[in-house]
Amino acid sequence: MMSVIGKYFIFLGSLFGKGEKLSVYWRRFMEESVGIGVSSIFIVAIVSTFIGAVSCIQTAYNLVSPIIPVSTVALIVRDMQILELAPTITCIVLAGKVGSNIASELGTMRITEQIDALEVMGINSSSYLVLPKVLAAMFTFPMLVILAAFLGIFGGYLAGTLTGVITERDYLYGIRDSFVPYNLFFMCIKPFVFGFLIATISSYQGFFTQGGALEVGKSSTQAVTNSCISILVADYLLAQLLL
């Protein structure tokens, strides 16, 4: 376990070794941003809208006391989305989508000697292949989480008003009530950290794959598992430190 962690940190160090031309990295960064960020918009939108809808319905189901205003449902949906559901659930979904993609791509490159071909040309393969992915994840994940939070709150609005558990007026009042701007900052810090963890852990798993197709599959699965565990641990630590 300790040797794996050590190897992981050495791998992180190699990302910042001798690099190539800036124009090359810029092009790779843009390609990865499209592949990691833009292609994830649909799944993030679907997941967050439905999670927002469900959280509104279930919160309303539990808030049966007549002394608690109905607008509290919207307040709870808002804070749940911003503080936890949008950043964490979105990033766990992205760990599955993006993480497995990164691990299998790099694993396949490893077993087909494409990474060896880069090394033999004198190119720092970890920097060339992995650094743009890490930067793209850290750049696009906060944007996806902002989108997820918005759509989650909107999903709650749709579900609440269409089912009649809350009026539009109460919902709009609730989402503005006792709003703490710092929560938005906290919401953006989480995906920044989670993006780094997902990209680096998945890249590590894929980069050091040895064997054949079976091992690529194992690397991909391991990447998702390890990424999810890291996200949950980091989630707790960030909450403890920043709140």
Partner: protein, 253 residues
């Protein structure tokens, strides 16, 4: 010229290479042959810097690869061209982009100069019409030829080929062999080929090294290989029935 001196390598206590030494001269095709699992690919990877030997040195025109500073190692790497067994083409790039890749990464040539060089290399391997295709859309033989084009695009001094004929039909194998031979002679490159294809040995090989269980058992020129008395080498060469029958007719066995 490439010199390897006393190369030793072991994995998990098992010796894979035991004191291999040799000299590979420029302008010649040097073959390393042997059965599967005898250490040929490990030796190649030690020479191109992918696996560090436990002991020994690899000298490129008197520059010790493993005991040089980073800049010298980089300079040596940029003089190498490597054709991997499966081609190792980048799946997300077209044939043209694959061949242009070293120029994009390692040179400051203009777009026009790169285009010219890429077109020349693709023409050299007979694939000038395949530039826009993806690696998944071309055959195994074509992938090997694209790999050769990419390996020579930087005008290398040293060309390494890891089993260039594996998975190819006999006709395509002959074409690949001829292409490697022409390029070696034309550009005076030091070429090293890992193979167990006896046809390549007899047709294009000049200097041949035979490895057996990590030891160098024989070294010489290809015309002498059928006259050797080394039993392991005889068994390897004459495992092929065609060669065996031909040798019997010629009385060389």
């Amino acid at each position: 010229m490439i010199e390897i001196k006393d190369i030793n390598k072991a994995f998990n206590g098992k010796a894979v290479l035991k004191g291999i030494s040799s000299t590979f001269r420029e302008g010649e095709i040097n073959l390393i042959i042997g059965g599967s699992g005898t250490g040929k690919s490990v030796l190649l990877k030690c020479m191109i810097g992918l696996i560090k030997p436990d002991q020994g040195s690899v000298l490129y025109n008197d520059r010790d690869f493993y005991n040089s500073d980073k800049d010298t190692r980089q300079a040596i790497r940029r003089e190498m061209g490597v054709l991997f067994q499966g081609g190792a083409l980048f799946d997300s790039q077209t044939v043209e982009e694959n061949v242009r890749f070293p120029l994009d990464m390692l040179t400051d040539l203009s777009a026009g100069e790169k285009k010219e060089r890429v077109e020349f290399c693709l023409q050299r391997v007979g694939l000038e019409a395949a530039g826009k295709r993806m690696p998944s859309e071309i055959s195994g033989g074509m992938k090997k030829r694209v790999g050769i084009a990419r390996a020579i695009v930087m005008n290398p001094k040293y060309l390494f080929c890891d089993e260039p004929n594996s998975g190819l039909d006999p006709l395509t194998s002959v074409k690949i062999d001829e292409l490697i031979k022409e390029i070696t002679e034309e550009y005076k490159i030091t070429t090293i080929i890992i193979t167990h294809d006896m046809n390549s040995v007899m047709e294009i090989g000049q200097n041949v090294m035979f490895l057996y269980q990590g030891d160098k058992l024989w070294e010489g020129i290809n015309t002498d290989i059928t006259k050797t008395t080394v039993p392991e080498l005889n068994e390897f060469i004459f495992a092929n029935k065609l060669l065996r029958d031909a040798a019997k007719e010629n009385g060389s066995k």
